[in-house]
Subunit: 352 residues, 2 copies
């Protein structure tokens, strides 16, 4: 883990080439973050980055440009990105953290590649079985943390348990929740419901010192009544993408209906502020990217379609993670439950 | 399978006690269906059913009442419902089909109990490995069939393959789709993405005579670009409940925002017809219940919160399934792919 004095500004390496919009969105976002006192390294094509910077007022800001000659495309396979694009902006950004020249990475690029580079370049915190991607999503009340949303498939019970532990640290030290509740995503609320993996994870979570509230169902994710929802990355990724898709579909259907007559068009005009607030509530950009938890360094995976606000918020999440020493708290959380991991491994061996 | 002449009216046993509202919603719905030429058996507490019937005009309709002394409560365990409530309305309804006195069952009661009673009382069609629950959901275009939404967890590749086959029959012969496309729910569109089970199911689906379009993601479910989405019941149940929950949350958030000022209240008034149409598009009631496919008899599991329209539509789906001989087509579809099942079983044995 890179050293970090309490008073020092967090140093965030930003993948300038990442996302559907690249430098023209990422660079202004990074400059905005620098204005808030975050030390920024913009990683990517030097010429493209400088062209964007020249249009902005960056006097007195802590921004440096680190050249990277390659770019991971959205359709590159993560394994190819790792092996064949060693000088890609995301890999160079991760190496800055590895070398202790930055505390964290933010990328809106190919998320599979960001996860793979994060894992292989930075490595896991001691005791972490599998790093996991946590998505912070809007609800009717406070945001909810869904973990894992795609870093892993075929998770074992002890993995699910660790996802809960890591999300607990994120919720407490980055999102500022006091005593976050943890639910296990299943298909019935009663104990004993769900598949074999979930039933075993239930026992581990119950014995932990997390505020475990038992099984929750798909319908509970967006009510705001649970702070952390734990699931396998396959299920979580389906849930995340389904939510995005459904929210968009509903908005599109509503738009079509509201444009269907003059009367409703007029009505829409009168309600325009309400619709804007509605959009804001259900907008992912407000919450920034998905932290990849469990690595020796902060990695934030932002949505490919991230706008400037989403990137700024991702950088803020990275900076807060550094300031509030998320890594130390993760290590503490893992240490406090080492007996339970031992138990889970013993169970796994007995079953095998 | 109960015999059924082409010209005879479909005979549907309706669980009058099922759902959050019981006879006062189910009985009027059944009467409405009877008016459309469906032969109805109302199963449940005779006195309660007759009290409802006495308020309605049922002259000349084919409705009979079959008494059942017990009711499965929403929080009863399926196994308890099966063993301890042998005279429950859902179990008596299933036995009517078993005895050849009805062709299908519709229940809005405890869905776990309906699935369990359907499976144990009726049994599987020869060749069906695991019956599956198919949910027909609204999209921006045509409805989509999501299968399985909770009858199974820990599905094997050959199960997923059969879910696709059964949904294909449902789409063709009940929903009237000509050449439905089948997608496999995964976490990336490329072949080779997903968990171990999904990767194997991919190969089976590709070799079948279904119109398999490859992997689809959570965001594709509601676009209307795929007709059938195949997944394990754990994932499907999470997806189904999440969709319901998110649609409700979004509607609630929108309602709060639209009531926040006089201007937007007035706007809402002017757009009220558009909102009604929006609600209709995203309303599950329009599509009736979820068919449990693969049993020797039609079983439709309706939502516990079903209103009259939802129950009527469930009965219509059951009747259409009978009229269009869904069972015969299921048996044909299974027979046409028996070589692939053999292959899958051989693979499973080699792996074990």
């Amino acid at each position: 883990m890179p050293s970090n004095e309490t008073q020092a500004a967090p140093r965030i390496a930003v993948d300038a080439m990442g996302g559907d919009f690249g430098p023209c969105v990422v660079v202004p976002a990074a400059v905005e973050a620098a204005r808030e006192g975050i030390d920024i390294a913009l990683v990517g094509d030097e010429a493209a980055i400088n062209a964007e910077l020249s249009r902005l007022d960056v006097k007195g800001l802590d921004i440096r440009v680190v050249h990277a000659s390659q770019v991971v495309e959205m359709d590159d396979k993560p394994s190819d990105a790792l092996r064949r694009k060693k000088d890609s902006s995301i890999q160079v950004a991760c190496r800055l953290v590895k070398k202790g020249e930055a505390d964290g990475v933010v990328s809106a690029g190919n998320s599979g590649a960001s996860v793979a580079c994060g894992m292989f370049v930075l490595g896991r915190i001691k005791g972490v079985l599998r790093p996991a991607l946590a998505s912070v999503m809007p609800t009717e009340k406070e945001p909810v943390v869904l973990i894992d949303v795609g870093a892993n498939v075929d998770s074992k019970p002890q993995h699910l348990f660790q996802f809960g532990l890591m999300a607990d640290v994120l919720a407490k030290y980055v999102l500022g929740m006091k005593d976050p509740s943890v639910g296990l995503l299943s298909i019935g609320e009663e104990e004993g419901k769900g598949n074999a993996i979930v039933r075993e994870a239930f026992d581990l979570l119950r014995e932990s010192n997390l505020r475990f509230i038992g099984n929750v169902e798909g319908r509970d994710i967006f009510t705001g009544d649970v702070d952390i929802v734990v699931c396998d990355g396959f299920v979580g990724n389906v849930a995340l993408k389904l939510s995005e898709g459904l929210a968009k579909s509903m908005s599109r259907i509503l738009k079509v209906e509201l444009k269907s007559s003059w009367l409703s068009k007029l009505g829409t005009l009168l309600s325009i502020r309400a619709f804007r607030r509605f959009k804001k509530v259900v907008d992912y950009a407000e919450y920034g990217g998905a932290p990849l938890l469990g690595l020796k360094g902060i990695v934030i995976v932002s949505h490919g379609k991230s706008n400037e606000l989403a990137i700024v918020n991702s950088i803020r999440v990275a900076a807060t993670s550094v300031r509030n020493k998320v890594h130390e708290h993760l290590a503490e959380g893992l240490a406090a439950h080492s007996d339970l991991f031992g138990k889970a491994e013993k169970n796994a061996k007995t079953a095998a």
